[in-house]
């Protein structure tokens, strides 16, 4: 069978997720019949209004939440629980308050590949490398409560990347950053993802964002969701050439994609405000 070649890295099929409030029994349908195949090495961005179930999808792929109905697979095998092969950057960072910047970034290195087989000196070097990547040099010994929101976000990003998982699941990873830092880290993210490497060596990435231009700049495909209940409204293939740099933002096709996505979510956004 040559299915293995065409088999998606991640597969969601007919995924439905309902939350039931324990006391009232009130049911919230967060996801309704979501189907999405993601290939090895693909960079997929998910955009959609607040509450449409983006974080829920991420939690399900991470194995932290089980779908109410539907199939969730990685490499053709059902996802049964969380594992260090799928790294998550949480929307609220989930930093350990009792760990310093360094401690947080190195937190997972003793457990998942590639840190597990490293010596302590190699781990320290790796931590230093990622501290530098997110420009937190000088703040290594600070605790999360001593950091600004944007700094905390960068610690969470550095922690995820230092762990070096196969699959990157990022929930609005750059949302709290200033525009300049954001653009720099977008480029860094593409580099770490493996933009110049062949597809087999890239890290399969699911990236949630509210920033349409960010989605177009980064993604191979953009999934546009709608809410109440959360559904996949449309999927756009962003066939802009890679490697991409800042000049791509001036490309007329770039604007065209952004307009298209905006058109898809505008109605809902207007409804939500009204």
């Amino acid at each position: 069978m040559n299915g293995a070649v065409n088999r998606p890295k991640l597969r969601l099929q007919g995924v439905t997720k309902a939350f039931v409030a324990p006391r009232t029994g009130h049911r919230t349908l967060a996801l309704a019949d979501v189907s999405l195949d993601i290939d090895q090495g693909e960079f997929v961005c998910i955009v959609g209004p607040s509450g449409c179930g983006k974080s829920t999808i991420l939690n399900i792929v991470a194995g932290l939440d089980a779908p109410t109905a539907g199939i969730v697979e990685k490499d053709g095998a059902p996802i049964a629980g969380p594992g260090p092969d799928r790294g998550v950057m949480f929307q609220d960072y989930a930093l350990y308050p009792w760990q310093t910047v360094q401690g947080n970034i190195g937190f997972g290195l003793n457990y998942g590949a590639p840190g597990k087989s490293m010596s302590q000196a190699e781990r320290d070097a790796r931590v230093a490398e990622f501290v530098k990547l997110v420009s937190l040099t000088g703040s290594e010994s600070k605790y999360p409560h001593q950091l600004s929101g944007g700094m905390r976000q960068r610690v969470a990003l550095a922690r995820l990347l230092a762990n070096g998982p196969d699959i990157l699941l990022l929930d609005e990873p750059l949302g709290a950053l200033d525009a300049q830092t954001r653009i720099i880290l977008q480029a860094e993210l593409l580099r770490i993802w493996g933009e110049t490497a062949p597809r087999e060596q890239r890290k399969t990435t699911v990236f949630i964002t509210h920033d349409i231009e960010e989605a177009v700049f980064l993604a191979d495909r953009v999934v546009v969701m709608s809410s109440h209940p959360g559904r996949v409204r449309d999927i756009l293939t962003i066939d802009l050439p890679r490697p991409r740099d800042e000049s791509i933002r001036a490309d007329p096709r770039f604007g065209h994609f952004a307009d298209e996505i905006w058109r898809l979510i505008r109605d809902q956004a207007l409804q939500a405000i009204a």
């Binding site: 991470a62 194995g63 932290l64 629980g81 969380p82 594992g83 260090p84 799928r86 790294g87 998550v88 949480f90 609220d92 989930a94 350990y96 308050p97 009792w98 760990q99 937190f107 997972g108 003793n110 457990y111 998942g112 605790y143 999360p144 409560h145 762990n163």
Partner: protein, 266 residues
């Protein structure tokens, strides 16, 4: 608030002076009152207590008795710490375990440490093990309940993040649950240390009474002997003050330890 706190820490001498002023005034009032009493009174006075302290401390067995009680408090506290924290982690993280054990815990909790004394003496005799078991029993509950409280409130996201990083269960307990619950556990430890002292004095008093002032040792037994054989209130007050001062010192040590162990809490 913060301004006051700052001036406090920046001028430690002033802080100490403020802490000492009130006790000093009370001592003076006490001495003034005592000097109005007839010479043959049994009522203690600061001057007499000071003299009694001197005789007891130098060759009177006060140091040995204090160390013995302190040793029992420490050992009993350690037993309670190990049992209370491990059971607390178990009950705090598993609803099923806590549902099953909660009735037992809550059933025992209102039983005063002294109420288990008869059983303790029957089982262990009138020496250190009986006193230890009572101290451990008394200190166990604050540690258990505060650990449960701390553990059950650990941010779920932090545990989820640990699982996505591949931490196995024991690492999640050691590196996430315990540090997250540490503030609660430390609070429980301070409360436990307080009740450990009340329990040890009561236990030594009672065991001393049971054995006719014989074999139990410790500050509590010393107090019992003064009470039963000489009715010397000055000596008893010395013992009380020693307990108070040692307990106060231990509590200060706890605060230092808290700052060391939890630097992230400022």
């Amino acid at each position: 608030m913060t301004v006051a706190a700052q001036s406090f820490s920046s001028r430690p001498i002033a802080a100490v002076a403020r802490g000492v002023a009130l006790p000093l005034v009370l001592l003076l009032v006490w001495q003034a009152w005592a000097s109005t009493l007839p010479a043959n009174t049994r009522a203690p006075s600061p001057a007499q207590v000071a003299r009694a302290f001197e005789t007891l401390a130098i060759g009177g067995g006060l140091v040995g008795a204090t160390l013995q009680s302190l040793g029992r408090v420490m050992l009993g506290f350690l037993i309670a710490l190990v049992l209370g924290v491990s059971l607390g982690v178990l009950m705090g993280s598993s609803r099923r375990v806590s549902r099953n054990l909660d009735p037992i815990v809550e059933g025992f909790r209102p039983i005063a440490p002294m109420a288990i004394l008869p059983i303790a003496i029957l089982w262990f005799g009138a020496g250190t093990p009986a006193a230890l078991s009572i101290v451990a029993y008394a200190a166990f509950f604050p540690l258990l309940l505060n650990t449960i409280h701390g553990v059950s409130r650990v941010d779920r996201k932090l545990l989820q993040a640990a699982r996505t990083m591949g931490l196995p269960l024991h690492a999640r307990i050691l590196r996430v649950v315990l540090p997250a619950a540490l503030p609660s556990i430390m609070l429980g430890a301070r409360l436990a240390m307080g009740v450990a002292w009340t329990a040890i004095i009561a236990a030594e008093l009672a065991v001393g009474a049971k054995s006719g002032g014989g074999s139990s040792g410790g500050l509590g037994q010393m107090m019992f002997v003064f009470y039963a054989y000489s009715i010397d209130l000055n000596n008893i007050v010395v013992c009380m003050i020693v307990v108070g001062v040692v307990a106060l010192l231990i509590d200060r040590l706890f605060r230092v330890a808290e700052r060391r162990l939890m630097p992230w809490r400022i």
